[in-house]
């Protein structure tokens, strides 16, 4: 199918509005992206017609909700090409997924003096849970370096793997820089030493096809809300054998098979990790988002967004006082930048006044800001519904505000 951005835009009702008298240009997709009508409809449908608690009722609504909820699990399995539904655990988001692995896998397997290896371009959510685990266990967090283009120094990273390394946790695509990491090489090298690898796919999944069996990663985590699905739902993929061996993360309903006051028998995968009533409508909305994306094709989305990024980079390079932060050769549709004379927060406010939504700040990646010696960056992050015309509007806005600030 050919990629028709006009048709895609028409599927997103929120995009059709004026902000402060100007057409909305939404370029904050790395923070969260907008929802197509199909996802909105799926939420309306479940709450209007099919809603009840899952996995327990014998009545019709519970059966319908359970079928839709478990149907979404199968859609996730297909979308990332996992081997089994048992390997798909629904969580609140990427952050909870990483915390789950840290507290369950980590506490069971990681001891004093062990090492956890991450990179210098991680989001706080792939730093702090490991720091907490290190504080609890006496393990050590090691950080692989990056260069000024925002690329991981792969050889340095691989040289940091050793007999004490128990886990490698790497961002697939950086939210602050756009860099796409050479994860296949990292996984191969880590596996050669029998070290499992967790990939933070929060930014990667909306922008490229992801095949967890092809990658052979041990854990893959992502959020729904960056993937055109509702907020408050996310996925932990884990290889079955690993998940099977891990203790539960939270205790409660749904994650048990049998409870007495003397002992509790835990439920099978994936329910062992889904304590309590889950985000039923959110999961069903995620399923609808995956249907929508699959119909367009992730390969088509990736190709279109590569064009957008290339155009944006080319146009941005024409602005003399603009410095792009993150110039990796392998890069997703994110343009982080600073201006010589205008602070990112002023850029954000100025652009907002003409209808353009970007992010200004440290993007939950303060170590990245420190590395580039900037207090913050302005970040335009693109989605499949953005257009070259919108990039033109952005660039005109930037040129004008540079003039105003003088």
């Amino acid at each position: 199918m050919s990629f028709d951005v006009t048709k895609i835009r028409a599927d997103f009702p929120i995009l059709d509005q004026q902000i402060r008298g100007k057409p909305l240009v939404y370029l904050d997709n790395a923070a969260t992206c907008q929802k197509p009508q199909a996802v909105i409809d799926s939420i309306v449908q479940v709450y209007s017609c099919d809603y009840a608690n899952v996995h327990r009722g014998v009545h019709a609504l519970s059966e319908r909700s359970t079928a839709a909820y478990e149907g979404a699990r199968e859609k996730v399995r297909q979308f990332i090409n996992a081997r089994s539904d048992k390997e798909i655990v629904f969580v609140r988001g990427t952050t909870e997924a990483i915390n789950l692995v840290a507290q369950s896998f980590g506490k069971a397997k990681i001891k004093q003096g062990d090492e956890i290896l991450i990179t210098a371009m991680e989001h706080h959510s792939n730093i702090v849970p490991w720091q907490m685990l290190c504080a609890q266990t006496g393990a050590v967090l090691k950080v692989a370096p990056i260069n000024l283009q925002g690329e991981l120094l792969l050889d340095d990273m691989l040289a940091m793997l050793n007999d004490r390394t128990r886990l490698v946790a790497v961002v697939h695509m950086s939210n602050a820089l756009g860099s796409i990491n050479p994860v296949a090489k990292i996984i191969a090298a880590a596996h050669a030493r029998s070290i499992p690898v967790l990939l933070d796919g929060a930014q990667a999944v909306p922008h490229m096809p992801v095949d967890v069996q092809g990658l052979d990663c041990d854990f893959y985590v992502f959020s729904g809300h960056k993937l055109y699905a509702p907020s408050g739902v996310g996925v932990l993929y884990g290889k079955e054998a690993l998940l099977e061996a891990m203790p539960p993360y939270q205790g409660g309903g749904d994650m048990i098979r049998k409870v007495t006051f003397e002992a509790t028998e835990y439920n099978v995968l994936p329910y062992k990790f889904e304590a309590g009533t889950p985000n039923i409508a959110g999961v069903i909305g995620l399923g609808a988002a995956l249907d929508y994306l699959s119909a367009i094709g992730m390969q088509n989305i990736a190709a279109y967004e590569a064009e957008l990024l290339s155009y944006a980079t080319q146009q941005a390079s024409k602005i003399e006082s603009l410095r792009i932060i993150g110039e990796a050769r392998q890069k997703g549709a994110i343009l982080s930048f600073v201006l010589q004379t205008v602070h990112p927060h002023d850029i954000g406010t100025m652009l907002d006044s003409i209808g353009i939504a970007i992010r200004a700040g440290h993007h939950c990646a303060m170590p990245v800001m420190d590395f580039f010696q900037v207090p913050a960056t302005a970040r335009a992050s693109f989605a499949m519904y953005n257009t070259q015309q919108e990039i033109d509007v952005l660039m005109q806005g930037i040129a004008q505000l540079i003039e105003v600030f003088g």
Binding site: P344, H345, S353, H362, Q400, V404
Partner: protein, 150 residues
Amino acid sequence: MFDDLRDLYQEVIFDHNRNPRNFRVMPDADRKVEGFNPLCGDRLTLFLKITEGVIQDASFQGSGCAISTASVSLMTEIVKGKTEQEANQLFEMFHAMTTGKEDAINLESVGKLAVLAGVRDYPARVKCATLAWHTLEAALKNEQQSVSTE
């Protein structure tokens, strides 16, 4: 193009952003306090020279957005020669003006600082304008810890 922002970004603010006043380290300062908003990245160090309860000199170093830079630059100008008590009163007035809690505030009484009144319509930016003043308040109380308005 940015007509809607004239109340926020007045010419005085651009001027102080381009040419901040009293932008220097004060080696013999009596008070030195850091203000830092980590979410924004606005960071400043405020220096005061105080003799017998009067602010003899005020200066700053740091980097931030136009609003925070202009705010601290204007502040160092206006507090020079003021008693600590007068400076505290200015802090109260500035706070009321920027948070919009006191509509009746007389903008004339704050003099030049009135150019920052526009931030009250931009809730996300109030913290930029008030960082300098909260840092001043801490300095007047002789507190050492870093100040944040986030």
